[in-house]
C-alpha cells in the first residue's frame, strides 16, 4: 500500500516512472548558494549546453560571443575558413584580455584590442607585434583555449569540460532522437529573440516551462481558453515521457477555440508561433505527436539542464535559463519561423511576437521574482508537485544523479 503523502501520491504519469518517487520537493535547491555552486561544478561545467544555432554564423568569419557566468567564462563561437564551427574561451593568451568585445560580428582574424595579438579563426596565434621582445616565444603553443563544440539539428552545443564524458549525440540520447528530423533548418530562416535578467533562481523560471497545468489559470486572459477547453479544462497532456537525462511533453489545444479577429487575420498570412487548432504533425518524427492525436498543438524537448525546446506546426521556440546566482537568471527566449517574404507575412509574424511577449514573457516572467521572494522567506520548506508536473520532479532527480556522482 502506498504511503499517503498529501496530494503527491502518484497518478497516471508518476505510475509509469515509480523510480522518481512521490512526495513534496524541498525548497532548498531554489534558494541555496551552496546548492547553486554544486550545480555549477557538477552540472554546468560538465555537460553539453545549447548556446545558439548555426543560422547565427552562416559564413566563414561569422562569430558570436556567449557570456557563460555559470561556467566562469565567456566563449566565442566562430565559423572557420572551411566551414567548421570552432569555440574558444574568449581570452587572449597574452594577458587575459577578452579577445572579442562585441556580441557578434564577422572578421578574418581575431585581433586583441590590448596589444593587437592576432589569431586565426581556428584559434592559432598568427602575429605578435614586437615579437622580438618575447624571447623564445613559441606561437604554436599559445593558441586560444578551445571549448568542445558540436551540433544537433542546427543547434550549437558547447561543453566546458576539457574532456567531455560523452559525445553530444550520447548526451541528447533518446529525446534527441525523438526530435531528429523535425524541419528546424527549413523554419529557422527567421528568428526573434528577447533577453532579460530576472531576480529568480533559474529553476523557478524553468519550472514554468516544464508543465502546462498553469495555462488555464495564469494565462486565463490570454491563451488559457485556446488550450484548456471544456473537454480538457486543466490542459492534461497527451504524453509526459522521461529518460535518463531529458524529457518530452506533448500538448493538445482546444478544438472549441475560435480565434480573435486579429488572430484570424494573422493566421491567414502565416503560421503562428504556438499554433492552436488545425496543427499537423505530418512530416515530423512520430514521437513529436506520440499519440497521433488530431488536437496535437506542440511538443517540448526538455533538454537538461537549462533549455526547453518547443516545436509546433510551422514554428519552434527555445527558452534557455542561464544561472547568474542562486537568485538571478539570464533568460533567453527565441522564436523561429520562416523569414517573411511579404509585408502581410511581416504583420502575421508581428502578431506572433506580440502574443508571445504578452502571453509568455510578461505573464510568466512577472511571477518569477515574486515566487523567489516567498521561497526565500522560509515560510515553507517544501513545494507540492502533482501528476501533470512530473517533469519538475524528474529535473530534481536528474540533478541528484549529477550531484551525487
Amino acid at each position: 500500500m502506498k504511503t499517503q503523502v498529501n496530494g503527491t501520491n502518484g497518478g497516471k504519469w508518476h505510475d509509469r516512472y515509480p523510480e522518481l518517487g512521490t512526495g513534496p520537493i524541498p525548497i532548498e535547491p531554489y534558494i541555496s548558494r551552496e546548492y547553486f555552486e554544486k550545480e555549477r561544478e557538477r552540472i554546468f561545467r560538465k555537460v553539453w549546453l545549447n548556446v545558439g544555432r548555426l543560422e547565427q554564423i552562416p559564413n566563414p568569419g561569422d562569430y558570436f560571443v556567449k557570456d557563460l557566468a555559470v561556467c566562469n567564462t565567456s566563449i566565442v563561437v566562430v565559423r572557420g575558413e572551411g566551414g567548421t564551427v570552432h569555440a574558444f574561451h574568449n581570452m587572449c593568451s597574452h594577458r587575459g584580455n577578452p579577445l572579442v568585445w562585441n556580441a557578434k560580428g564577422k572578421c578574418k582574424t581575431f585581433t586583441c584590442r590590448y596589444h593587437s595579438w592576432t589569431y586565426g579563426l581556428d584559434g592559432t596565434l598568427r602575429y605578435v607585434p614586437d615579437e622580438k621582445n618575447f624571447c623564445g616565444i613559441k606561437k604554436d603553443t599559445l593558441g586560444l583555449t578551445p571549448v568542445a563544440v558540436d551540433t544537433w539539428e542546427g543547434f550549437i552545443f558547447i561543453n566546458t569540460d576539457p574532456t567531455p564524458r560523452e559525445t553530444l549525440q550520447e548526451y541528447l540520447g533518446e529525446v534527441g532522437r525523438s526530435f531528429t528530423g523535425y524541419p528546424f533548418a527549413e523554419i529557422a530562416t527567421g528568428s526573434s529573440a528577447w533577453e532579460i535578467d530576472v531576480n529568480a533562481n533559474w529553476k523557478v523560471c524553468k519550472d514554468a516551462f516544464q508543465e502546462v497545468y498553469h495555462i488555464f489559470s495564469l494565462h486565463n486572459r490570454s491563451t488559457g481558453a485556446a488550450f484548456a477547453g471544456k473537454s480538457n479544462p486543466y490542459l492534461n497532456v497527451h504524453e509526459l515521457a522521461i529518460f535518463a537525462t531529458h524529457a518530452r511533453i506533448s500538448v493538445p489545444a482546444s478544438l472549441d477555440w475560435r480565434p480573435s479577429p486579429v488572430e484570424a487575420l494573422a493566421k491567414r498570412y502565416g503560421m503562428l508561433t504556438l499554433q492552436k487548432q488545425n496543427s499537423s504533425s505530418r512530416g515530423m518524427p512520430a514521437e513529436v505527436n506520440p499519440t497521433g492525436a488530431p488536437d496535437w498543438s506542440f511538443s517540448g524537448f526538455i533538454c537538461f539542464p537549462n533549455t526547453c525546446l518547443y516545436v509546433a506546426d510551422g514554428g519552434f521556440l527555445t527558452h534557455t535559463f542561464w544561472p547568474l546566482s542562486e537568485n538571478r537568471t539570464h533568460w533567453e527566449a527565441r522564436i523561429y519561423f520562416p523569414k517573411a517574404q511579404t509585408l502581410a507575412q511581416q504583420f502575421s509574424q508581428e502578431y506572433s511576437r506580440a502574443t508571445f511577449v504578452d502571453g509568455v514573457l510578461v505573464e510568466d516572467g512577472g511571477m518569477f521574482e515574486k515566487i523567489q521572494s516567498m521561497l526565500a522567506s522560509g515560510a515553507k520548506k517544501e513545494i507540492i508537485v502533482g501528476d501533470e508536473e512530473l517533469l519538475i520532479r524528474h529535473h530534481h532527480k536528474v540533478t541528484e544523479t549529477f550531484l551525487n556522482a
Binding site: G52, R53, E55, Q56, I57, P58, N59, D62, F64, A103, K104, K106, S191, S192, A193, W194, E195, I196, R221, S222, S260, P261, V262, E263, L265, A266, R268, Y269, R334, A340, Q341, T342, L343, A344, Q345, Q346, F347, E350, Y351, R353, A354, T355, V357, D358, G359, L361, V362, E363, D364, G365, G366, M367
Partner: protein, 112 residues
C-alpha cells in the same frame, strides 16, 4: 506628427498615423502610454480595413518598400502589438513584467 504618408486607397487611416512607428520599442512605448480609449479607437478604425490592407501588403516583398507602404505596414505592426490589449486584457498592458525590461535582440548576422 508622423513623417509617413499612406497609399492613396488608405487615406482614411491618416488620423492614426501617430501609430505608424518604425521600431518595436516605439510601438511598445506607445501602447504602454496610451489610454484604453485611444487604443480602442485605433483598433476600431483599423479592423474593418484590414482585409483590404493585408491583400495590398501581400503584394509587396520585404525589400525596397516605398515609404507610404512602409507607413501602412507600421500601422499594422502597431495593430498586432495592441490587439491583445483589446482582445484579451481590456487594458493597455498584460499583467506581469514591464515589457520595457525585455531586450529585443537580433541574433542573426546583418544582411550583407
Amino acid at each position: 506628427m508622423s513623417e509617413y504618408r499612406l497609399p492613396e486607397s488608405f487615406q482614411d487611416l491618416v488620423p492614426y498615423l501617430a501609430w505608424s512607428l518604425p521600431t518595436d520599442r516605439e510601438r511598445s512605448a506607445k501602447r504602454q502610454s496610451s489610454t484604453m480609449a485611444e487604443i480602442n479607437a485605433f483598433y476600431q478604425a483599423m479592423l474593418p480595413r484590414m482585409e483590404e490592407v493585408l491583400s495590398y501588403l501581400a503584394l509587396y516583398p520585404t525589400e525596397q518598400v516605398p515609404p507610404e507602404v512602409q507607413g501602412l505596414l507600421y500601422l499594422t505592426l502597431s495593430l498586432a502589438k495592441i490587439a491583445p490589449a483589446v482582445e484579451m486584457y481590456g487594458e493597455p498592458n498584460a499583467e506581469g513584467l514591464d515589457t520595457l525590461r525585455l531586450v529585443n535582440v537580433d541574433i542573426y548576422p546583418p544582411r550583407s
